[in-house]
């Protein structure tokens, strides 16, 4: 599973907000820390706002506040907002593959098909990992690494 740039920005941002609950952070502040375009980040934050993970703060300076539950929101909950992670079921994959087999030839198809099984296995492990890590757990990991 290769994460797009927006997804990584969203994960960094959500962790920034979750790490400072109640604090009002601006897009410029987070963009500066992670050396990213504030314009790009603003779009990501709007998506996080629509999902209810952050809330736009009114008043001087604007910005956003964390609005989720760090013990319940997982990394996968954030990733799913930006990535299409639904993998084809094996039956559907085979049906598509049958068509491909006719196009590329049986020998090439068999290698591609077997390689696809390995890549799907890696993908499933990645998804399970992202699903098992909450924002709170991730913040603990950041803290442990800061102290080590």
């Amino acid at each position: 599973m290769k994460l797009q740039k927006n997804t990584v920005l969203a994960l960094y941002s959500v962790l920034e907000f979750a790490g400072r609950p109640g604090a009002q952070l601006s897009a410029a502040e987070i963009a500066g820390k992670y050396r990213m375009s504030p314009h790009h980040l603003a779009k990501v934050l709007r998506a996080l706002g629509r999902a209810g993970l952050v809330r736009a703060a009114r008043g001087a300076g604007g910005g956003y506040r964390f609005a989720g539950n760090p013990r319940r929101v997982t990394l996968m909950d954030v990733i799913e907002l930006f990535e299409n992670i639904s993998a084809p079921k094996s039956g559907a994959g085979r049906r598509t593959a049958r068509r491909a087999k006719a196009e590329v030839g049986a020998a090439a198809f068999e290698v591609e098909d077997a390689f696809g099984v390995v890549l799907a296995e890696i993908d499933e492990i990645a998804k399970a990992t992202f699903r098992s890590i909450t924002l709170e757990t991730m913040l603990k990991l950041v803290e442990r690494r800061r102290r080590s």
């Binding site: 997982t74 909950d77 890590i133 909450t134 603990k140």
Partner: protein, 158 residues
């Protein structure tokens, strides 16, 4: 998202004591396990008590006792690990009553069994569970556990 119920009142948690499992606890342990897995495995738990109960070297069957009510259990042992690895602590069962989740019961159980592992001189604890078991995976992750250097493998036996 991880779906966990609210923690119980602080007062109820204050009475919690982690101790070795006894025969009188078994029915409640079976109830907790059946509530989580949907399977009532009385003979299995009787065998676990026989093999892991009491003060046994390298084997642990602990319960969280809250004034006579069993709120959770943990089972594990120290294994002389295969494929050349040094012995490690191994947790192969942990469960808490759903109405006590997020109350720190499982954390206390895991801490207690890890203390037992440390006393036996091991410095690593491992576990293995299905990757779609998000609840328990998240719990172990929250306790600082990371992916191990082992990869579980399986195959269908024809």
């Amino acid at each position: 998202m991880i779906s966990l119920k609210k923690p119980p009142a602080q007062a109820a948690r204050a009475q919690l004591r982690v101790r070795g499992a006894q025969a009188a606890d078994l029915e409640q342990v079976i109830d907790i396990d059946a509530g989580i897995t949907g399977l009532r495995k009385a003979p299995y738990w009787a065998e676990i008590l026989r093999r892991y109960g009491g003060a046994r070297q390298q084997r642990f069957f602990l319960v969280a006792d809250s004034g006579g009510r069993i709120d959770g259990y943990v089972v594990g042992d120290v294994r002389d690990w295969e494929f050349g690895s040094p012995p490690c602590g191994w947790v192969f069962g942990i469960g808490v009553r759903p109405d006590t989740r997020l109350g720190g019961v499982a954390t206390q159980l895991l801490d207690a069994i890890c203390d037992g592992f440390r006393r036996l001189g091991v410095d690593k604890v491992r576990t293995l569970l299905a990757r779609d078991n998000h609840l328990i995976l998240s719990f172990f992750r929250s306790q600082g556990m990371m992916a191990a250097t082992f990869i579980p493998l399986e195959k269908d036996l024809d």
